[in-house]
């Protein structure tokens, strides 16, 4: 490790790559989540309630993840049900919001 210039250069290149990769995409986060999901089956009310519960419980620590498939969302919610002390009703409604 005698090349600090290489380390810094790698850091700068990493930044540049990220900025270049993301420059083209300014779509809203929630649209990005939902665009990859199957047709909406949940009622609008349940989805809105799920969004509220996400903001209430999950939003206390972090922003919503992007690009979740329905099956991935179920696994995430199972994990968050334990970590964030969600009720089964919270889990069901937030799933309607993340993966209708």
């Amino acid at each position: 490790m005698n090349s600090p210039l290489a380390v810094r250069l790698a850091f700068v290149l990493l930044f540049a790559a990220v900025l270049a990769a993301t420059a083209q995409n300014s779509a809203p986060q929630q649209q990005s989540v939902k665009s990859k999901l199957p047709p909406v089956q949940a009622t609008t009310n349940e989805s809105e309630e799920g969004e509220k519960r996400f903001e209430t419980h999950c939003g206390r620590c972090h922003v919503p993840p992007e690009d979740l498939s329905p099956r991935e969302a179920r696994a995430v919610l199972r994990q968050m049900r334990v970590r964030a002390d969600l009720s089964s009703e919270d889990e069901r409604l937030i799933l309607k919001y993340l993966a209708p």
């Binding site: 990220v18 995409n25 809203p28 620590c61 099956r71 994990q79 334990v82 002390d85 009720s87």
Partner: protein, 342 residues
């Protein structure tokens, strides 16, 4: 014996993966970060990866684990001399959860010690707003921040306007390399008001080996719906010292929405103080009275990337120091089984 335990855990993981393949897919998520820290003129580069594996089994079971692999790249004499690198790895938790009822979840294995909010909720690299851990992070989380044993947690009471959440645990002394933990017992209880997103809670830990120690603390979180503001604070006390931190973060999402170029920006500030108590062996708290202020900017890029930059000034009898942090973090999430997201 320990190896047999590891193989048994792996078998359980794989069994769980196949069982759950029909409904929830096992996932691997977590964060990758590249952190550059300049403290007192000495710069350290630190690549970090912290994968989280979650394997749901049926409707009530979950196996989850987080490991952290990081490397510290630094100069031999601080600001001069050849570069060296030290590599670290740890298992932060490896636990089996059983959702027994709407009020109780039973956890066994290695889990994060539930003291206040930082260790359990804000520790992941893709969550915390500032790179440096609080000065009081070592209080109530002896010895490693993780516990080996059993934990109960859940929402004990839930009413329309408030709910009471809790955790209670017991940990055994374990000296295994990746699963080290101290013998201790403790818990946390909090009251959460959903309508205002306000939570107030208390924590307690009784350390049950060597010099028995009591640690207690209190915390609050407030995220008003009326503004994109986050306010978090912790206070903790033990024989070795006491201290607090208060952190406020404001995201400029009111300006053309959270995905506009300005709306992706978040300003963060934190003040903290630590007051040294009596000498305690193996204490990880600061060795002198310390005050610190931090200011940071977070920028939430699309595709789960985040840029952070922060400046901190630390005041201590050991010397006053400027601390600069610059980091880029990617939060990833993939199915553990190929094709598992379909």
């Amino acid at each position: 014996m320990f190896r047999k335990g590891i193989w048994a855990a792996l078998f359980a993981l794989l069994s769980g993966a196949s069982l759950s393949a029909q409904s929830e897919t096992p996932i691997i998520s977590g964060g990758v970060q590249y952190l550059s820290t300049t403290a007192g003129g000495a710069t350290t580069f630190q690549p970090i990866i912290a994968p989280v594996v979650a394997i749901p089994i049926g409707e009530r079971w979950l196996i989850e684990s987080r490991s952290t692999f990081d490397e510290a790249i630094f100069r031999e004499d601080g600001a001069t001399g050849p570069y060296h690198a030290l590599t670290f790895s740890s298992v932060d938790y490896l636990q089996l959860d059983y959702i027994a009822s709407s009020r109780v979840t039973i956890t066994v294995g290695e889990f994060l010690t539930p003291f206040n909010i930082y260790n359990e909720r804000l520790g992941p690299v893709w969550i915390h707003n500032l790179a440096d851990s609080p000065l009081i992070a070592g209080i109530g989380t002896r010895t490693s921040g993780s516990s080996d044993g059993a934990m109960l947690r859940g929402v004990a009471l839930s009413r329309k306007n408030w709910e009471l959440n809790y955790t209670a645990y017991f940990s055994a002394l374990v000296n295994a390399r990746y699963f080290g933990a101290g013998r201790s017992a403790g818990g946390r209880v909090g009251v959460f008001i959903p309508r205002t997103r306000f939570e107030l809670g208390m924590s307690y830990q009784r350390f049950l080996q060597d010099q028995h120690l009591n640690s207690w603390g209190t915390y609050l979180i407030w995220q008003p719906y009326a503004a994109p503001l986050e306010l978090r604070a912790e206070y903790a006390h033990t024989l070795g010292g006491q201290g607090y931190w208060v952190e406020a973060a404001y995201r400029f999402s009111r300006f053309r929405g959270s995905t506009s170029w300005l709306g992706r920006l978040q300003a963060v500030g934190r003040v903290q103080q630590f007051y040294l108590g009596k000498p305690v062996p193996d204490d990880v708290n600061p060795g002198a009275d310390t005050q610190k202020v931090d200011f940071g900017l977070n920028y939430y890029l699309p595709h789960n990337f985040r840029l952070n930059g922060s400046y901190g000034r630390q005041f201590s009898s050991f010397g006053n120091t400027n601390i600069w942090n610059l980091q880029i973090t990617y939060r990833f999430l993939f199915p553990l089984i190929p094709g598992g997201s379909k």
